[in-house]
């Protein structure tokens, strides 16, 4: 029996959280910054790609095939591939996360855009809508539920994936999980990191669900 086995090592220790509040907040901040950055950048790149892919099946085929392949690459390998270019920095993690959120968002954006009934677009064009106004006033509102569903999936997945950033030392709350493992299996630290990740994902999902309700008031009116 080693001495380390006899030392108390509880799974849940509130004093760990209170004693290390500053550290936890710092990692939480990094986690939130990486997640928000990845989803926002991913959305900004995914929207033009989806608009382009919608134009023809010859474009949508390669876009969807490429997204499937990127999706299949494990995160550990993805971060390792980017590492030689960006080193041990948060940028390495951000680029990898953008790649993953991008492929989720392209698929959902494309599904949303293709879900707009052709009759509606034709009617709008017949009423004199130009391409820009058609997108903003007709297609975007109709595709919004699919867009928001994509954003929610991308956000929750990104929160979970950010932890793998420990590979290059920028994993947000993942640093607590990995740090606890390396600090002689310090369970309280590991559980704090893990629970923090799950809570962050749930909070983000609830927030986005609220945004979805706000931006699609007509959906509520129908249900009521």
């Amino acid at each position: 029996m080693l001495a380390v086995d006899e030392a108390p090592n509880p799974w849940i220790d509130p004093s760990y959280v209170t004693d290390n509040w500053d550290t936890i907040l710092r990692y939480l901040g990094e986690h939130v910054r990486l997640t928000v950055g990845a989803v926002v950048l991913g959305a900004l790149i995914a929207l033009p790609l989806a608009l382009l892919a919608r134009r023809s099946r010859y474009l949508s085929g390669p876009v969807l095939a490429a997204s499937t392949i990127v999706y299949t690459i494990p995160s550990l390998a993805m971060f390792a591939f980017i590492f030689p270019f960006q080193g041990l920095s948060a940028t390495t993690v951000l680029i990898g996360l953008v790649a993953y959120s991008l492929v989720i968002l392209v698929r959902n954006f494309l599904a949303g855009l293709l879900g707009v009934p052709a009759d509606v677009r034709e009617a709008a064009r017949g009423m004199g809508y130009g391409p820009v106004r058609l997108f903003w006033q007709i297609e975007l509102p109709l595709a919004l539920p699919a867009f928001m569903a994509g954003l929610r999936i991308a956000t929750v997945s990104t929160v979970a994936l950010t932890t793998v950033g420990v590979l290059v030392g920028h994993g947000g709350l993942g640093q607590l999980i990995y740090g606890g493992f390396n600090a002689n299996f310090y369970r309280a630290e590991i559980v704090t990191g893990a629970v923090g990740c799950v809570l962050l994902a749930l909070v983000a999902d609830v927030l986005l669900a609220g945004v979805e309700r706000l931006v699609t008031p007509w959906a509520r009116a129908v249900r009521a």
Binding site: A77, A80, P84, L167, G171, F181, C197
Partner: protein, 244 residues
């Protein structure tokens, strides 16, 4: 020399493959962990999914399980099992991976069996099939495409996540990447990453072919052109599961 060039040199040295603790040994370990984890998950999730789907109960629970599992980081679960009394190593890794493989199999089996046309089931009953026969000869063949999707998602996820186990003392190909970071050897990092990525893509490919082989009725490989009217050309919204 660039990291990618060094990686090619490393991968071209046969000794790196065949020596003790070399690529082949790590690959075998990786595959063994993955296969056991997927089979264990299949053994647990498949009967539950079929039972719930056939009875039509528990749909809410299945959806909640699948959504919550998406929010739990794989690294967290791997670490939690590694520091539990099971002890770190391949056993803890296998259990953690099996836990992760359960939701995709469970959800897809449930949805597949649940989606079988009630009329078809009723017709089968009217023809004198017993409850077990209806499940074996009507429900399962009709639900097979979705069940195979679940199995594919779970397997690719497990093979991909198994590489993370190296961060918390597990085995498999992730060790190369971990070792590369430890030794500041960029070539080794890239070589490990390449092997992991190729293995994941190959797994996906093998499972796609397997689903094609076992699916009854009209079938199509993903890269074959879709024969359908243009106004129906809506792709599936997102690949099932989550990136790893």
């Amino acid at each position: 020399m660039s990291a990618f060039g060094e990686a090619m040199v490393y991968l071209n040295d046969p000794y790196n493959w065949t020596r003790r603790g070399g690529i082949l040994e790590l690959l075998a370990e990786h595959l063994a962990i993955s296969v056991v984890a997927v089979l264990a998950a299949l053994l647990i999730a498949f009967p539950i999914g079929v039972a719930l789907g056939a009875s039509g109960r528990g749909g809410g629970t299945v959806v909640v399980v699948s959504n919550v599992s998406r929010a739990v980081p794989t690294l967290a679960l791997l670490t939690l099992f590694a520091v539990s009394p099971i002890g770190f190593g391949n056993r803890a890794t296998t259990i953690a991976l099996a836990v992760f493989a359960i939701p995709p199999i469970l959800v897809n089996t449930y949805v597949g069996v649940r989606g079988v046309d009630a009329d078809v089931r009723e017709a089968a009953r009217a023809m004198g099939m017993t409850r077990g026969q209806v499940i074996r000869r009507v429900d399962l063949p009709l639900a097979l495409p979705l069940i195979m999707t679940g199995l594919r998602t779970a397997t690719v996820q497990v093979v991909a996540t198994a590489s993370l186990a190296a961060l918390v003392g597990g085995g498999g190909l992730g060790r190369l990447v971990r070792l590369g970071f430890g030794q500041q050897d960029y070539g080794l990092i890239i070589a490990g990453a390449l092997l992991i990525a190729v293995l994941a893509v190959l797994t996906e490919l093998v499972l796609v072919l397997l689903s094609w082989a076992v699916t009854p009725g009209p079938r199509r490989l993903p890269w074959q052109p879709v024969r359908r009217r243009p106004d129906e050309a809506v792709p599936e919204p997102a690949p099932s599961g989550m990136p790893l």
